[in-house]
């Protein structure tokens, strides 16, 4: 019995360690390379750690020459505006659809439901013409408006959460003479806080990592976000992998910090955000 347990343990931890290696190795070799000098990169193997851990030259080049600094700035602007917008839009729709039953309310809910079936990548062919016609092509608004207009998940998360906020809270506020608007801003919004955290996380991950929206709609260099700025490394630094690796690390570090500090929220957010 005991040896059977031991064998099971070895299998269990062995496979877990294998999983950890598979997850970390690709990141680790990039991390190593990002500190190497050009000659060091060509003369040492990928698994050899860099000789000088304080060589930040590649990072400097990726940051400044590689336009990553500008990319971070644009990403943050788009991220902040679209998250605030998503929270407002999602909570407003959820408030109205959850609290008021009116003619057409089912239809509107159905319309939002139906929209989740449409895979975003496929419709870009036609969306592009609309964005272009609105004069938003090559402006930051293209990304912002698309993130706001096609974000149905947030509405779902808020709708689900609204069910748990008792209507009696609204009613007692109404007895005190509060307007519906006051109920929304003073009662509903504060109580939605856990759902707002979920929405920020789910959307934050999506927007930070999104590639095709900025790639298609904001090709102008000044408008590059992290994804597209990094994507541009391919040509000019094609042979300088140590600089590309520094760029990769720069894109990963904010994610890593966010993950370490928000771990619990991220797990919960993804689990509740995925159940439609």
């Amino acid at each position: 019995m005991k040896s059977k347990y031991a064998a099971g343990s070895i299998l269990k931890y062995g496979s877990l360690i294998l999983g950890v290696i598979a997850a970390i190795l690709p990141i680790l070799v990039v991390f190593f390379a990002s500190f190497k000098t050009g000659t060091e990169y060509t003369t040492t193997g990928p698994l050899t750690p860099p000789s000088d851990w304080t060589n930040f030259e590649n990072f400097k080049r990726a940051f400044v020459e590689g336009n990553m600094l500008n990319g971070f700035k644009n990403t943050v602007i788009i991220l902040v505006i679209s998250i605030i917008g998503t929270t407002l839009i999602g909570s407003m729709v959820a408030f109205v659809l959850n609290r008021f039953k009116f003619r057409g309310s089912k239809l509107i809910l159905g319309a939002f439901l139906l929209a989740t079936l449409i895979p975003g990548v496929t419709t870009q062919v036609a969306t592009f013409q609309i964005v272009n016609a609105l004069g938003l092509f090559n402006t930051m608004w293209a990304a912002i408006v698309l993130y706001l207009g096609t974000d149905i998940i947030a509405i779902y998360i808020f709708l689900q959460f609204m069910n748990s906020i008792s209507v009696s809270l609204d009613e007692s506020a109404m007895l005190d003479g509060a307007s519906y608007f006051t109920i929304y801003t003073k009662i509903i919004l504060p109580l939605l806080k856990p759902a707002i955290v979920t929405v920020i996380i789910v959307r934050g991950i999506f927007v930070y990592n999104d590639f095709y929206t900025p790639f298609l709609y904001m090709p102008k260099t000044e408008l590059h976000v992290i994804s597209t700025a990094l994507f541009k490394f391919q040509g000019p630094y094609g042979s300088e992998w140590e600089v590309i690796c520094a760029g990769i690390m720069l894109a990963i570090i904010p994610t890593f910090i966010a993950f370490i500090s928000l771990q619990k929220h991220i797990y919960n957010g993804l689990t509740s955000g995925s159940v439609k």
Binding site: G19, V30, F95, F100, A111, V121, T122, V125, Y212
Partner: protein, 290 residues
Amino acid sequence: MFSKLSYRTQRIIIIVSFLIVPLTLLAIFSFLPVANMFWYSVTDWNGYSEKEFVGLENYITVFTDPEYFRVFGVSLYYFFATFVQMGIALYFATILSFKVRFKNFFKGVIFFPYLLNGVAIGFMFLFFFRPDGALDTVLQMIGLGDFAMHWLGNPDIINVSLAGTSIWRYMGFNFIIFLGAISSISGEIYEAAEIDGANRWQQFRYIIMPSIRIIISLNLVLAISGALSAFEIPYIMTGGANGSATFVIQTVDTAFKYGKIGLASAMAVILLFIVIIVTVLQKRFFSEED
């Protein structure tokens, strides 16, 4: 000022004012593109010309010209990869739902890749797969040096490499969803099973599997649409070269590189239909079962 109005008037004002912006956005950016896409798909539009009605010609091209329907074959790699991905995810989720040392560490590391930026992942694996790169070096270290090859240069293997990258990227998501579902099973059930002498495999087979069956099938459906819409990883890494173009890469190139908006729209409509059919089938199938 607002509160002076009767609740009836307030209600109307709030319904209209709260819904007008979201509904406008929904109409313009979700439904209008779909409607336009249907219309473009029966024209020969190139983005500038007059739109001329060509009937089903574009659809016929997609299904008869090997250059276009060949890419469906590439989806099979991603489709198959999804099963591998879900298998691995289920395995780790099951293991980590029992007592394990350093549980949070393992959970975090296995999940983390899912959070990473797609371009960063694409470049990371371009680096990883390079000749004499990390993968080849590791293979040599463990005595499998003969297996080293041009992971992205060999047309026979390129899609396997790319689908493998896609597993690395998305497995953490399935893992965390499965882990959440498994953890919500009450501990008492396991205890009761253990008293009855059920071993780990039996616990997995008769307790875990039945209670997460629905989540698994939901993820499988997402996987089918995901396999068909595979885009980022192959586009970033190879641009669709060497026989690695997926259906979406082909669509995007047809539209934006070659300016054949009509043809590209037909391709997009086909993909949209497949995804909707799969989703509706799944919904029907599972709502009947419950």
